[in-house]
Amino acid sequence: MQPNSDFMFKWLIHFGEYVLLMGRAFAVPQQWRVFFRQVVQEIYKLGIDSVGIVIFISAFIGAVITMQVSLNIYSPLIPSFTVGFMTREIIMLEFSSSIMCLILAGKVGSNIASELGTMRVTEQIDALEIMGVNSANYLILPKIVGFVLFVPVLVIFSMFCGMTGGFLISWFTDIISPATYEYGLQYWFSTRYIGYSILKAMIFAFIITSTASYFGYNVKGGALQVGKASTQSVVGSSVLILAADVLITLLLV
């Protein structure tokens, strides 16, 4: 077999196994009470624990975007409120959904892959199976549901903090007046963009959790392989997020 077909064959196997795993994960939970409790725990662990990093990164990136736009489009022909307008467009359309999810692929994805990988190598997943528990359903579905449900909150936080970061730069520096920046933020605003951004982020959240779960759940070996699975999950979900971003943009914009 040629190297290229080898590569394709390997990824086809991965894809087949991924579909089968998702088939097992998306089953009716054996105990709804346990499932809801798990979902709440996952929301806390994957979502609420990510709020800090989302706020921090969004505020700084918002500030930097405002500065960069202001410095790079300086022209008497372009109205100065364009800085606020462009900051809003970049943050709402791309940063708060795609870039934020790429960052979360690192944090959340590696967390899930290492957790499931460790459970696999310490036989905790086997223990679930022996008890008659559908381990994929018990372990993976709450993570997917919890993160997909909570990611809109992270997106809204990110949008708010990104635009606030830009506003603070306009307030503390003389790059642009706060009033002009604020006018730019409101200029030609479409609420549809919020829904679009949230929808994208929810799709990316599914990609992150399901990809990381796949790599973590199928770990074979020991601690070294858990680390490898964690890296693979971040790389895999980042590639898939970027590919899905192009596809969604083509379809929805």
Binding site: Q31, T118, T122, E123, Q124, D126, A127, E129, I130, G132
Partner: protein, 252 residues
């Protein structure tokens, strides 16, 4: 009773389990012994259904495991308890929550009755005082005892133990052996233990199966093992200096 009939299992074209047939009786501790890499763990994984055999039958009181439908298999799994080599306790749960877990998932009893059952199981393995601790906060022996409590929580018919004494000091090993043996007789379970610890063999081995390079090499009781005329078994048993001396003393 569990019966294995002509079991065969290969990985990447290499036969790891080669036509093993055995019967494991109810109310007895059945030990599978053999050197590391002889196929004991694969054999046990076949018995519990974590691996599928290439050929052969595994009968649980007449029910053939490889041909079971998903619902039947799930029902059978609730009749099984397993103690893993590394205990396999859930890190995120306390000792009590670990024992409660199978009850929460499968028991139809009220929460109060489930808690009473979990407390009873913890008391049975002398772990009631550590109920609120996490697995990371207890010793290896305590982890094994917790895993036994979790395994018996649903009152199983079949108990499987993979290397229950690995990593334990001799005294704790004895305690774990006695606990498993006592529980087996108390609940009249079919217990199968994977081990290469000869102390366990002599202590609790009601029935012993010796596996060598994937094949059943010898079968007997703990009273027969010291005088068995099987070179491979003798090499395994008398690898320990202690057992050589015991044998020599017996001969004198």
């Amino acid at each position: 009773m569990i019966e294995a009939k002509h079991l065969i299992k290969s990985f990447d074209g290499k036969e790891i389990i080669r036509d093993i047939s055995a019967t494991f009786e109810k109310g007895k501790t059945n030990l599978i012994i053999g050197r590391s890499g002889s196929g004991k763990t694969v054999f046990m994984k076949l018995l519990v259904g974590l691996l599928s055999p290439d050929a052969g039958e595994i009968r649980y009181d007449g029910r053939n495991l490889p041909s079971m439908k998903k619902a039947e298999l799930n029902a059978l799994r609730q009749e099984m308890g397993m103690l893993f080599q590394g205990s396999a306790l859930f890190d995120s749960m306390t000792v009590m929550e670990n024992v409660m877990f199978p009850l929460t998932m499968f028991s139809q009893e009220t929460r109060q009755k489930q808690e009473m059952r979990a407390q009873f199981c913890l008391k049975r393995v002398q772990m009631a005082d550590a109920a609120d601790l996490y697995p990371g906060e207890i010793s290896g022996g305590m982890m094994k005892r917790t895993a036994i409590a979790r395994a018996i929580a649903l009152n199983p018919k079949y108990l499987f133990c993979d290397e229950p004494n690995s990593g334990l000091d001799p005294k704790t090993s004895l305690l774990i052996d006695d606990l498993i043996h006592g529980i087996t007789q108390e609940y009249n379970m079919t217990t199968i233990i994977n081990t290469h610890d000869m102390n366990s063999v002599m202590n609790i081995g009601d029935k012993i199966l010796f596996i060598y390079e994937g094949k059943k090499e010898w079968e007997g009781t703990k009273d027969e093992i010291m005088n068995a005329e099987n070179k491979k078994l003798n090499d395994f048993v008398f690898a320990s200096d202690l057992f050589r001396k015991v044998k020599a003393a017996e001969n004198q």
